[in-house]
Amino acid sequence: MSKRALEAPAAPAPASLAEELPAGKAALQLAAIALSLFSFVLWPGLVNVYQISFVFFGLQYVVLASSWNIISGFTGYVSFGHVAFFGIGSYTTAILVAKHGWPWYLTLPLAGLLAVVWAAFIGFPCLRLKGPYFAISMMGLNEVLRVVALSWESLTGGGLGITMPNAENSVSTYYAGLAVAALTVAMCYAIAHSRFGLRLAAIREDETAAEAMGVPTTRYKMYAFMLSAFWPGVIGGIVAYKLLYIEPDSTFFIAITVNMITMAMLGGKGTVLGPVIGAAILYTAQELVWWYIPWLHLIAYGAFIILIVLFVPRGIMGYLIDRGWVAKGVIQ
């Protein structure tokens, strides 16, 4: 078999947007996107600092859930330690800002790149593992990083963490977060509507068959994994700067991984908009419950995870697609 086989797909291909939608509808859709982006841009001018931060941390989860979705939703490799990339980004920014006096925004590309380097490093061996073994290895590697951050005191400050110099940063980090979230979603969209995305889907559905069809699976899995690591690294850097203080236990925190997964699941994994919707809903709900009924917060969350997995395994988008309310090719 040659590679041509996949380049002339017989399966229902989500070709290009223009083929699926009449020009008028596409324009309307673009307008809607522009409008929602615009309202996000205006937001800081209208509200107080807490409300800016509230949306900022929501955007953080949009980035994280969407990125997780690339390796796990599109490609089918469940990463149960994705917070590691977030943590690497956090520490990169924190160290450069606190110890070397870099301006925080210059550290972000490096934060993302280091996360990608780590992804390349561990992806090479780990992506050979299948199913639960991959999930456990990701979880284990995250713990390795956490303990390294705890013990490598000269670099990370160990359990003391790192304090960055104080600065008014709510608005600047908000816009950085917004930009990163928009770019992440745009990237997911681009992937989903490309041959690359199609090949990832082939890997997800049946890796052996995909390989037999000529998809260079190892290489494509690596690409997907590295792409899914970049934006978490960047947003990790932004969050670290926003908080101005980081320490290992709450940075390499398994609950953040679980949040990403649950948000993507709730919205619908393997779709572009799913993680965004999931992050928006779940994050808001979590904040509300935590503020008003703190003791119930995590119990309810646990129950919620179970209910989603058992009853809406394909998420909100999956539900909508099944009912034909949403055109499959567009957002998938």
Partner: protein, 398 residues
């Protein structure tokens, strides 16, 4: 189109939920807000701090409130997690718009939240943090109350030096305060010409200290000093017995000073030395100490420990500053807190130029017959310390 409809609906719902009213407090109340570790590893000492503050709120409201207004205390749980505490203070200061702030418990969390309280220029009396480095960063709105963490184990070192014990082992939890306490102990040991044979950190999640204690034993240490909180101090005490390790001195920070230490460990707690900021001993001679002990005991059914005392004292100081300023203006409060010189049941409050309460010294006690008895410094001594500690097999069977 429908996909976007779904998205927009979700966004609209989120936005609507955001619009919940800011600070649902009555306008005539003075709202004092802060994060405190109601759950998690710091919950035991943090809970005592909260009790002390609660007692003050009840009293101040009974005597007519602050500036004639009722006081409401809003303490939210930070789950012993610094980044949660940071988010909480941001919310309390910008969304809930509290009038005054109280500090969180523990040095790491205070360090993390100081950036926020500093940014919003909200003065706090840090009654739960003893690590001097927090005050070494040019911060202007944080005021110390308690003695420095470096001095916590000083008494134990001095007793060891006096008795001629040469080999000191120091272990500590890997966190801001414990580390500072351990470093301080090492410094004092050096000053007295003692040999630090082991200085090792353990992670916060540690419950099994046996290999570490075997190390202590193999090094023939005379004294073991622990920069610890509650769990670790209790576990080390139990495991010392389990491994039949006999030390001449075993002293720890925080843990032994909590009422639960004696309750949980029973006879095992005997002879453990602990450092303390304050003890419910009227002989300390501070003004109002007797009354405070009585009031607290009546309200909570046990004698106050030093955390409770700190929580109460910090509120008294805040109250005094507000009274002197005559208003809740934060700059005015900051000024008052900078120049205030005040004696409370807890000791003297008078901060230096860096905001640290430099006059406060530490005490050392030993648990004898289930009671904490002051043994150091000599001028506050209730009884002479029982050192070396009796060997495990020489103690009466329990």
């Amino acid at each position: 189109m429908k996909n976007l409809k779904g998205f927009m609906t979700a966004a609209a719902v989120a936005a609507a939920m955001l619009a919940f009213p800011a600070g649902a407090w009555a306008a005539q109340e003075v709202v004092v807000g802060g994060a405190i570790s109601l759950t998690g590893r710091y919950s035991e000492p943090a809970g005592r701090l909260k009790d002390g503050r609660t007692l003050w709120v009840e009293e101040v409201n009974a005597r007519g409130g602050l500036l004639g207004r009722k006081v409401r205390l809003v303490l939210r749980d930070d789950r012993s997690d610094p980044s949660t505490a940071v988010k909480l203070y941001e919310r309390l200061l910008t969304q809930e718009k509290v009038d005054l702030c109280v500090a969180p418990y523990s040095s790491p969390i205070t360090e993390a939240t100081a950036s926020i309280t500093e940014r919003y220029k909200c003065p706090i009396v840090a009654d739960g943090a003893a690590t001097r480095s927090i005050w070494g960063k040019g911060r202007k709105y944080i005021f110390g109350l308690v003695g420095p963490s470096d001095d916590y184990l000083r008494g134990a070192v001095e007793i060891a030096a006096k008795k001629g014990y040469k080999r000191i082992a120091i272990v500590n939890e890997d966190s801001l305060f414990s580390k500072a306490a351990a470093n301080g102990a090492a410094m004092y040991a050096k000053k007295h010409g003692l040999q630090v044979v082991l200085k090792e950190e353990y992670p916060r999640t540690q419950t099994d200290f046996r290999p570490l204690l075997l190390k202590v034993k193999a090094l023939n240490a005379d004294a073991l000093l622990g920069g610890s909180y509650f769990v670790d101090a209790a576990a080390i005490t139990r495991q010392l017995k389990e491994l039949n390790i006999n030390l001449k001195i075993w002293a720890a920070t925080v843990g032994p000073g909590l009422p639960r230490f004696t309750k949980d460990l029973g006879p095992l707690a005997e002879y453990v030395l602990g450092s303390t900021q304050w003890e419910p001993v009227p002989a300390l001679g501070y003004p109002g100490i007797k009354e405070f002990i009585a009031k607290y005991a009546k309200r909570f059914g046990e004698k106050p420990n030093y955390h409770a005392s700190q929580g109460y004292a910090a509120m008294l100081i805040l109250e005094e500053a507000v009274k002197k300023a005559g208003k809740l203006d934060r700059e005015a409060l900051r000024e008052q807190l900078t120049k205030l010189d005040m004696m409370t049941h807890y000791g003297r409050y008078k901060v230096g130029p860096d905001g640290f309460n430099s006059g406060k010294g530490l005490l050392l006690f030993q648990i004898l017959k289930g009671e904490r008895r002051l043994v150091w410094p000599e001028e506050s001594q209730e009884v002479a310390p029982v050192v070396p500690l009796p060997a495990w097999d020489k103690r009466p069977t329990m």
